[in-house]
Structures are given as structure tokens and as C-alpha cells.
Amino acid sequence: MPDLPELRVGDCVRVLGGEGPNMLVDEVIRHPVDGQVVRCLWVDEQGLVHFTDHRADNLELAGVRTKLSAIDVNTDRTRSFNGATAQCDHAHPLTILVVEDNEDGANCMATLLRLYGHRVQVAPNGRSALELAAETPPDVALLDIGLPDLNGWEIARWLNEQAGSHKKLPFLIAITGYTSELDRQRSRKAGIGLHLNKPVDPAELVAVLERFRQVIAPTPQGDCG
């Protein structure tokens, strides 16, 4: 058996051996006796549920299976949601597209993310989001859902379709006041990796972005304070 990484909900995983996207773990189940991770679950850009069972034979949940040993996991325990990661103004900033029609909301989100060292573009509607993404494919897109023209789900589908030509699959995060289970399902179907309800804790968002950045461009230990 491989050594299991210490998985927890919110960890960023990447399927190895392919052009797998980066996804956040949605669920972690531990063995009731020894507490070791026996199973984890995440949803990919197609809305398919990946399900891993380490001890037993792999079980199938939605037709997609991946061995736990075949994923790359960033689980730096020194990083947490308390804002500590925020001190890291890294040499590998993410290119982030903020799609938000609330001008104050978009501007302050952009200001916040730039303070943390990221490159940020702002789109106040769906059309300009598509134009900006075509010019500069983002690493991450933060999508409001309720927009004046296209909605966030339509933008997500378009971004995922375009990803093939850019060979760069963006990590899509919905930040929205649409909070029902049906809305979450729509996000999954549209290929959105993480659905966050407004108001989002900025420290939590920054930590998620940092974990994602660590997966696509790992920082040597000690580089971040």
C-alpha cells in the first residue's frame, strides 16, 4: 500500500498521468478505528464524481475511479484558513479573472487579490469575460452567477470548452448568492470546481487559491512565511 497523504476537505488534488484538472476534495472518510483516510471524493470539470477507496477494491460511484496513490495532493499542514498563507507574495502569481457585475464587489476583490500578488482582470459581464479569457487564458476564474447577459454557468462551459485549445484548464470558482442544492448541481454540471456562497471569507478564498497555486507551481519549502 502506498503511503497515504493526509487528505482533508478543501485540499487540492491533481490526477497524475494525464492532463487532469485540479480539483478540491469534497469529502474525506477516515477509518473508524485508526483514523486513516480510506476514501476521498471530488468532482471533476465534467461534473463526474471521482471516488477513491484505498483499502478495499476501488468502488464505483459515477463511472470514474482513481486510485488514491495516483493523485498528487498538496497538504501542507502549516497552511490554514487563518490567513497565514496570505503573507506569501509569491514569484508565481496566478492569473485570475474576476467576473462580477457589482462594481464595488469586483474592484475590492481585485484589490484584495493583487495585494496577495496575483494578476487580476475584471469583467463586469459575460461578454467581456469571454473576450478577456480569449486574450489571456486565466489560471482561475471567480464567477458570479447572476450577471446581466450570460450567467456564470454559461461562462464556465465556454471557458472549459476553450481550455482544450489553450491546453490550460482554468480552475473555476463560483462566488454567488445562488445557494440552493440545485444551484450547486448546476455549477458541477457546468464544470465549476468549487461553489462558494457569498459572503466568502477572504482568508478562506486566499488559502484556496494558494493551495491551487502550490499544485500548479509548487514553492520550495521555506519560501513562504
Binding site: A86, P199, V200
Partner: protein, 67 residues
């Protein structure tokens, strides 16, 4: 106004409150980082005023529902 309209109106107000709370949270984090851009405080004040207006709308909606 029928129930469906009231519910829609209420949902819109709640989403507005969530928007304001989100902006406030981000603005406070920017201020906390110690290098707030000019206008951060004005932005926070605008959100406070918007929250008050939304709360008033929600109150009048409740009054309308109970009337």
C-alpha cells in the same frame, strides 16, 4: 403581490445583502493588510448604507406579508 413575487423579491434582497457582506469582508481584509487604497473607507461606508436600505426593504416585505 403574490407569494411567488414576494419570494423573488426576498431572494433578491438577500442576495444584495450577501453582496454587501462580501464587499465589506474584502474591504476590511484590504484595510487589515495595512495598505488600503484611497477610498476603502468610503467603500465600506457605502456598503453599510446599502445594507441599511436592504434591511429596510426586508422589513417592509415582512410587514406586507403579515398584513
Amino acid at each position: 403581490m403574490n407569494d411567488a413575487c414576494l419570494n423573488d423579491h426576498r431572494d433578491t434582497i438577500i442576495r444584495g445583502i450577501c453582496d454587501c457582506a462580501c464587499v465589506l469582508g474584502n474591504t476590511l481584509e484590504v484595510i487589515r493588510r495595512g495598505n488600503p487604497p484611497e477610498g476603502a473607507l468610503r467603500l465600506a461606508m457605502r456598503q453599510r448604507e446599502a445594507l441599511i436600505r436592504l434591511a429596510e426593504s426586508l422589513q417592509s416585505l415582512s410587514i406586507g406579508r403579515s398584513a
